[in-house]
C-alpha cells in the first residue's frame, strides 16, 4: 500500500512540467518571502538590537551594549517588576475567573435555553468592537459626569477618580478586558460543545448524575483539545495584553504592563533599545504557550 502511494507520488511529481513547477514556486514563494521579510527578519533584528544602544535616528549611531539593556531592566527598575506583577494578576484573573465564566456561559447557552442565539450575539458583541471604541464607551460609563458616577450619586463636582485610583483601577481594567475575553471564549467553546453527543449527557442525567458531574466527567474530557487551546489563548492574551491600557492611559506609568513598556520604548519618538530588550523578554515568556499550541495543531502532521 505504502509503496504504491510512493510510486504514485513520484509519478505525479515527475509529471509536473517546468511551467507547473515554476507556478508552484511562485505560489509558495511570494507569500513566504513576505512573511519572512515582514515578520521573521524584523524579529531577529530586534533580538540583535536588544544588545545595542541606539536612539533610532541614524543607523551609524548604533553601538554595541552587551547585556547592559537587560541589566538596566532587571536592576533598579521598579516599573519592570510592577509590569510583571500586573501581567501575573491579569493572567491569574483570566485563567481563574474570566475564562471559566466564558466556559460556563457557553455550557448554559449550549443547552438550548430560550433565546440562546440572541444571547450568543449579545455576549459576543464587545469582541467585534475596536479597542479604540471600547476605550471611549467605558470612559463614558466611568468618567466624572458619566453613568456609574451618576449612579453613585456623584456629579462632576465631587466625582471620584477611577482611573487614577490604584485600589480600584486594576479591577476596573480587568473587568473591561473580561468584557471582551468572556464573549470570545464563549464562542470558541460553544463551537466545540456542538460536537458533544447530547444523548451522552441525557443518559448520565437519567443515571442520577448532577450537572457538575456531567460537566466534569463528560464535557471536560471530550473537549480536551479545545480546553488546551483555550488555555493557551488565555495565556498568550494575558502576556500580550496592553492595547486597552494604552487606550486608557497612553503611557505605562500608572498601570505598567510588559507589552506597554515595549511599545513606549520601541515606537514613536524617543525610542531606546531597552524597548527591544523588553520585547525579547516578552517573546521568551510567550515561547512556551506558542510551542504548546503548535504541537497540538500539528500533532498528526509531525507523526
Amino acid at each position: 500500500m505504502k509503496s504504491a502511494a510512493t510510486v504514485q507520488k513520484k509519478r505525479s511529481r515527475r509529471s509536473l512540467s517546468k511551467t507547473d513547477r515554476f507556478t508552484l514556486a511562485t505560489f509558495v514563494g511570494i507569500p513566504t518571502l513576505l512573511q519572512i521579510i515582514l515578520l521573521w527578519v524584523p524579529a531577529v533584528v530586534t533580538i540583535i538590537l536588544s544588545f545595542t544602544y541606539w536612539n533610532g535616528i541614524r543607523l551609524k549611531d548604533i553601538q554595541w551594549a552587551g547585556i547592559q539593556n537587560y541589566k538596566n531592566i532587571f536592576v533598579n527598575n521598579p516599573l519592570f517588576y510592577q509590569a510583571l506583577k500586573n501581567n501575573a494578576i491579569w493572567l491569574a484573573f483570566f485563567v481563574l475567573i474570566a475564562t471559566p465564566l466564558g466556559i460556563l456561559l457557553a455550557y448554559q447557552i449550549d443547552r438550548g435555553i430560550k433565546g440562546h442565539a440572541f444571547y450568543e450575539s449579545i455576549y459576543y458583541l464587545p469582541v467585534v468592537l475596536s479597542l479604540a471604541v471600547i476605550g471611549i464607551i467605558w470612559n463614558f460609563m466611568l468618567q466624572p459626569g458619566g453613568f456609574v458616577q451618576g449612579l453613585m450619586g456623584r456629579d462632576i463636582g465631587n466625582a471620584i477618580s477611577i482611573w487614577g485610583n490604584p485600589k480600584i483601577n486594576t479591577w476596573v481594567i480587568l473587568g473591561i478586558a473580561s468584557w471582551r475575553h468572556i464573549g470570545y471564549i464563549m464562542l470558541l467553546y460553544l463551537s466545540g460543545l456542538k460536537s458533544v453527543d447530547p444523548a451522552l449527557k441525557e443518559a448520565a442525567a437519567i443515571d442520577g448524575a448532577t450537572d457538575w458531574e456531567i460537566f466534569r466527567k463528560i464535557i471536560l474530557p471530550t473537549m480536551k483539545p479545545v480546553n488546551i487551546i483555550i488555555v493557551v489563548i488565555t495565556l498568550i492574551e494575558s502576556l500580550r495584553a496592553f492595547d486597552l491600557v494604552y487606550i486608557i492611559y497612553g503611557s505605562p506609568t500608572i498601570f505598567p504592563l510588559l507589552n506597554l513598556l515595549v511599545f513606549q520604548n520601541f515606537a514613536g519618538q524617543g525610542i531606546s533599545m531597552k524597548g527591544a530588550a523588553y520585547a525579547v523578554i516578552l517573546l521568551l515568556l510567550c515561547i512556551v504557550p506558542i510551542i504548546t499550541y503548535l504541537r497540538i495543531s500539528f500533532q498528526e502532521d509531525i507523526k
Binding site: 505560489f27 507569500p31 513566504t32 513576505l34 533610532g56 450575539s121 468592537l129 476605550g135 487551546i229 525579547v280
Partner: protein
C-alpha cells in the same frame, strides 16, 4: 422500562424548570453586558446642552441625529472611514489570496518542506507584534529611499496594507490548509489526469470549493484589520491618512469635553463591524470555528 420513561419525563421537567431560571439569569446578565453600548448610543442621540442643564439621567427633551451630522462635518469621520476602506478591502483580498496559494501547495502536493512552511506561517501568526515595530518602520523608510521616494511605503496606504497582509496571512494559511485537507484527493487527481496545469487546478478546481471557508475568513479578517490601529499609529505620519480606529484616539483627546459628539463618532466607527457581525453572523462564527484560535 416504564420507570425509565417516568424518570426521563421527570428529568425533562426538572431540566425545563432549571433552564427557565438560567435563561432569566443569563438574560439579565446580557442586558448588563450590552448596557454600555446602548448607553453610548443613547448619549449620542442627545444634545450636549440638554445633559449639561438637566443631568445625565434626565428624560430627553428631544432626540436628534445632530451629533452624527456634526461628527461627519467637524471630525471628518467620512474621510477616516474612507481610509479604513482603502486599507481594509485590499488587505483582506490579498491575505486570502496569498493564504489560499500557500495552503493549496502544501495540501495538494507532497513536498518535504510543507510542514515547515505551515509551521513558519502559524508560528509567525503568534509572535508578539511589538517585536517588529522598529525594524519594519526602518525597512519601509529605507526601501522608500532606495527608490527615491521616502513615502513609498512609509506614510502610505500601500505600506499599511503590506503589513496587514504579512501579519494576517499566517492565520489565513493555517485555517485554509486545515479546510483544504477535507477536500478529497480524488478531485485533484482527476484534475491532473484531465491535463489541468497547476494554475487551472488552483483557479478552476480548488478555489471554487474554498468558497465557504473564504467567506467565513473574510468576515473575520475584515473585523480584525478594520479594528487594528497600532500599525497606523506607527506607520502613518499624516493624520488625514489614518484609518478611523487610529483617528479616534486623537479625536478623543480633542473632543474630550463634548462627549455626545464623541459618542456619535465612536458609534459611526463601530457600525461597520457590528452591522457585518449581525448580517453575517453565521460566517463569522464559522470563521472562528475553522481556525479555533487567533492569538
Amino acid at each position: 422500562m416504564s420507570t425509565a420513561v417516568v424518570q426521563s419525563a421527570e428529568y425533562r421537567n426538572n431540566q425545563k424548570r432549571k433552564d427557565t431560571f438560567i435563561s432569566i439569569f443569563i438574560g439579565i446578565f446580557a442586558f448588563v453586558w450590552i448596557f454600555p453600548i446602548l448607553w453610548t448610543v443613547w448619549t449620542s442621540l442627545r444634545p450636549y446642552n440638554d445633559i449639561i442643564s438637566y443631568g445625565i439621567f434626565s428624560w430627553p427633551r428631544r432626540l436628534t441625529f445632530d451629533n452624527y451630522i456634526n461628527a461627519i462635518r467637524e471630525m471628518k469621520i467620512g474621510v477616516y472611514l474612507l481610509n479604513s476602506l482603502l486599507v481594509t478591502v485590499p488587505s483582506v483580498i490579498l491575505t486570502l489570496f496569498f493564504g489560499s496559494l500557500v495552503a493549496f501547495v502544501v495540501t495538494r502536493y507532497q513536498y518535504k518542506f510543507n510542514l515547515w512552511i505551515l509551521l513558519l506561517f502559524t508560528a509567525g501568526n503568534m509572535l508578539p507584534i511589538v517585536l517588529t515595530y522598529i525594524p519594519v518602520f526602518w525597512m519601509f523608510i529605507w526601501i522608500g529611499e532606495l527608490f527615491g521616494n521616502r513615502n513609498l511605503l512609509y506614510n502610505n496606504y500601500g505600506g499599511l496594507i503590506l503589513v496587514h497582509v504579512g501579519f494576517q496571512v499566517g492565520f489565513a494559511t493555517f485555517v485554509l490548509s486545515s479546510y483544504m485537507k477535507t477536500i478529497p484527493k480524488e478531485i485533484s487527481e482527476s484534475a491532473t489526469i484531465d491535463g489541468a496545469n497547476v494554475f487551472r487546478h488552483y483557479w478552476n478546481v480548488i478555489l471554487p470549493l474554498l468558497r465557504p471557508a473564504l467567506a467565513a475568513l473574510s468576515v473575520l479578517m475584515t473585523t480584525w484589520i478594520y479594528n487594528e490601529f497600532f500599525w497606523a499609529l506607527v506607520l502613518m505620519s499624516d493624520d488625514s491618512k489614518r484609518p478611523i480606529t487610529s483617528a479616534l484616539r486623537r479625536l478623543q483627546g480633542q473632543y474630550v469635553t463634548d462627549f455626545n459628539l464623541l459618542a456619535a463618532g465612536a458609534i459611526i466607527a463601530a457600525a461597520p463591524t457590528v452591522i457585518m457581525f449581525f448580517v453575517l453572523r453565521k460566517q463569522f462564527i464559522a470563521g472562528l470555528t475553522l481556525g479555533s484560535t487567533k492569538g
